[in-house]
Amino acid sequence: MKERTEEEILTRAPILVILGGKKCEIAPLVIRDSRIWRKKLISLIAPLPVLVNTTMDTENPRGFVDALTQMMVTMPDQVLDLFFDYAKELDREEIEGVATDAEIAKAFEEVVQVVFPLAQSLPKVLGHLSQ
């Protein structure tokens, strides 16, 4: 995944993604709006460890099926909802008809990279502070 340049960040350049083989642009959200979106993402991924543990519990076949369904069926749909909740300017109906799951996953990753920049730069900042 390509790291965004300082110029792109300063000019709030759109996030470029490929969906259905076509280049699409997503405007990065300002802090106020992305904060709300981040909370939605966290609430989506927070139950993941529990689900993973449940799939490893061989004593509970019903729980295994439920957890697997949640991870393999429900969650990808929720990820899709979340993606289009961020990329409001994209035509969901059109894109769902042409884009592959892999493209959506990659585009989602690009959005997450913009929403969680601290994850990349925190080690750099701490490095400077400790000098």
Partner: protein, 61 residues
Amino acid sequence: MAEWHVTPDYIVNNWTDELLNLMTEKLVERKGKERTGIGKHKDSEETLFARARSLIKVVKK
């Protein structure tokens, strides 16, 4: 915020997360340079006075 001369409200409503992050990184970098710069170029008082003398222009009236 005082460093950038903008209010927190302005930042929240106009900046993106990555812009805030970049600005913070640059601020930390600049502060680091300022700190190490002072240590490296520590002049004696005489040198400082000599440098200051050359910067002052005395105009006779």
